[in-house]
């Protein structure tokens, strides 16, 4: 079943035009509110993604007004949006255009009204966004400006069908919505694999030498410099940088350590693979060492031959085809939509460091002959953290993003998590982990939901992939046992719902002495909770966690 998507707008937009195919192939589109955006905001349905395409010039007639208070237009709309955001479980996306045909001379003294309304509108939408994280908005005019307004708007369509834009305009709207929706629903890319020669700098280090490569303040060297600066910006926003280059390690390191124009420093690179092996082989190795899926990888290399080999061997990796003109690279990299992350939290910034730590952990583990003595030696320390205003967004983020160790993969909103936190009969806590490799921050979340006085159900149990292999799950189950016992619970239920990615958590409950049971027998206890996966149960006293000792 395709997800439902309602497209609404302030003026008409030619439903079923082929321009929408991009979206209608992926979503079940409802066009009934085209030209009637307020109807869409008023509608009772809460299970549809709602798109509002607003042209601010639809809200007044410039020729009939001298002066105008933006409040008059915006108050009622903002009210409607607020009410909708309160009930809707799905994204509310606003695509906004304040374009109007304007007279350059009169605009010197007087701002066009559409712009005034627009500025007031977005400032209020931004403040709503702080409360309702399902609100998204973007400025369509930036999208339109790329092609030029004269191509985007079409007066003939306006007089024929009340549609402001041309078919090209429709296509641009559909494309931009598609990018935003992809960022909401598909995992974003987390890592870039970079080549060195003719990618980070111009020329070939092994032949030209450090003095002759192109990187600096002049000409083409500046394009490489800007490309590196853009990479640095991505790095600062939490994207991991890795190197995969066919070269002599000594030569490349020499550039990293001694070239004064290198913007990316050695310590910014999470993983180096400088050797003469196949790049695909190296990329797989990086993925294993960092425990990151290949589908979160982006690969940038100027060499079409290498690109072709990688994209053939590893189709999951997003292989970029860089423009054949280096001067376009900084812009090309900046406008890649695959990194965009919504709801980034402060903790993201720390993650680069943590992945690096993870890399060291895996290497150490290979060496340790006896797993347990090794784990003992890294001095694991876990801590329970209660839910509060500062940990709430991390808890929400974990339910949204954790795919592998996640028993039920239930995605929750801020409001959902708050509700768990409110009911004192429920148990909810995050887990903070530290070891000799560093402070990993909050990496686990467990939610126990009260079914009745004696029975509790593990609604959510997840652990971030960065800290796999440390038996943190045992410690967390021990903690929930202690708390559940104190609250008087006698029995505990858990469910495993299989997804494409969470096989790793399939055996967890069994390993801790839960028994698989027939779901029909216990239907009554679950009331309105639907059990679709494998159901497990144990009496509170019977849960066992031999590995939790590692943390004592």
């Amino acid at each position: 079943m395709l997800q439902k998507l309602t497209i609404s707008s302030s003026s008409f937009l030619l439903p079923k035009h082929p321009a929408w195919d991009l979206l209608s192939n992926k979503y079940n589109i409802d066009y009934k509110y085209i030209g009637n955006f307020s109807g869409a905001l008023l509608s009772k349905s809460d299970d549809q993604i709602l798109v509002n395409i607003l042209f601010f010039s639809d809200f007044y007639d410039e020729n009939l007004l001298n002066d105008f208070n933006p409040d008059k237009v915006n108050n009622p709309i903002i009210d409607l949006i607020k009410k909708k955001a309160e009930v809707s479980k799905q994204p509310l996306i606003f695509a906004l255009s304040s374009w109007s045909s304007f007279n350059i001379v009169s605009s010197v003294f007087k701002k066009p009204l559409a712009e005034k309304i627009y500025l007031d509108f977005i400032s209020r939408l931004s403040s709503l966004q702080k409360t309702y994280s399902n609100i998204y908005f973007f400025n369509l005019d930036y999208v339109f400006a790329n092609l030029g307004f004269s191509k985007i708007f079409d007066r003939r369509n306006w007089y024929l069908a009340n549609c402001r834009v041309s078919d090209i305009g429709l296509e641009e709207i559909a494309k931009s919505l598609n990018s935003v929706l992809e960022r909401i629903y598909l995992p974003s890319k987390k890592l870039i694999v970079l080549d060195c020669d003719n990618t980070l700098w111009g020329g070939i280090i092994g032949e030209d030498g450090i003095k002759s490569i192109n990187l600096g303040e002049d000409g083409i060297g500046k394009a490489f410099l800007d490309f590196q600066k853009t990479l640095k910006g991505l790095f600062n926003s939490g994207i991991l940088l890795t190197i995969c280059s066919k070269n002599n390690e000594k030569d490349v390191m020499n550039v990293f350590e001694n070239h004064k124009f290198m913007q990316i420093k050695k310590e910014d690179i999470t993983n180096f693979k400088i050797n003469w092996k196949e790049k695909s082989e190296n990329i797989v190795k990086i993925s294993k060492e960092l425990n990151l899926g290949l589908d979160s990888f982006v690969y940038w290399d100027d060499n079409p031959f290498e690109r072709q080999k990688v994209s053939k061997a590893l189709p999951q990796v997003l292989t970029i085809t860089p423009s054949d003109k280096v001067e376009n690279w900084p812009d090309q990299l900046r406008t890649l939509n695959c990194f965009g992350k919504f709801n980034a939290t402060d903790l993201d910034k720390k993650k680069t460091y943590q992945y690096k730590v993870r890399s060291q952990f895996v290497k150490g583990k290979e060496k340790a002959t006896e797993e347990l003595s090794y784990l003992k030696s890294i001095k694991l320390k876990a801590k329970k953290i209660d839910l509060n205003s500062s940990t709430l967004s991390r808890a929400v983020q974990m339910t949204q993003k954790t795919n592998q160790f996640n028993l039920r993969t239930k995605r929750y909103s801020k409001k959902d998590i708050e509700n768990f936190g409110r009911n004192k009969k429920d148990i909810i806590f995050l887990t903070d982990l530290k070891d000799i490799f560093g402070n990993h921050g909050p990496v686990g979340l467990i939610i126990g939901k009260c079914l009745n006085k004696k029975t509790i159900f593990i609604d959510t149990f997840l652990i971030s992939c960065r800290v796999f292999g440390r038996y943190l799950e045992s410690w967390m189950l021990r903690e929930i046992k202690i708390t559940a016992k104190r609250k008087g619970y006698k029995e505990i239920y858990g469910e495993y719902i299989q997804t494409e990615k969470n096989v790793i958590s399939k055996e967890v409950l069994k390993q801790h002495n839960f028994k698989k049971i027939d779901k029909k027998k216990s239907d009554k206890i679950f009331k309105d909770l639907k059990i679709t996966g494998e159901l497990y149960a144990s009496s509170i006293n019977n849960i066992k966690f031999p590995k939790a000792k590692l943390y004592d």
Binding site: P18, R156, L160
Partner: protein, 77 residues
Amino acid sequence: MIEKKISFCLKTIFKKEKIPKRITNLEYGNFKSWDSLTHLNLLLTIERKFKIKFTLNEMYELRSVKEIIKVIEKKQK
């Protein structure tokens, strides 16, 4: 050649209809789904395909494939 291209446009817009081999006699309203909206979508698709622009008046007046072919021929000269 013109007919072939228009036939392609008809298929793009009226995905669910069966488009006959000879299209010169087709006109607005021939299929259930050929209404004012899909007609506009069709004209815009034809413009793209032939790299021409209709005037607003032409868009009001063009109702049949025959008329459309005539205008395209005129514009291509």
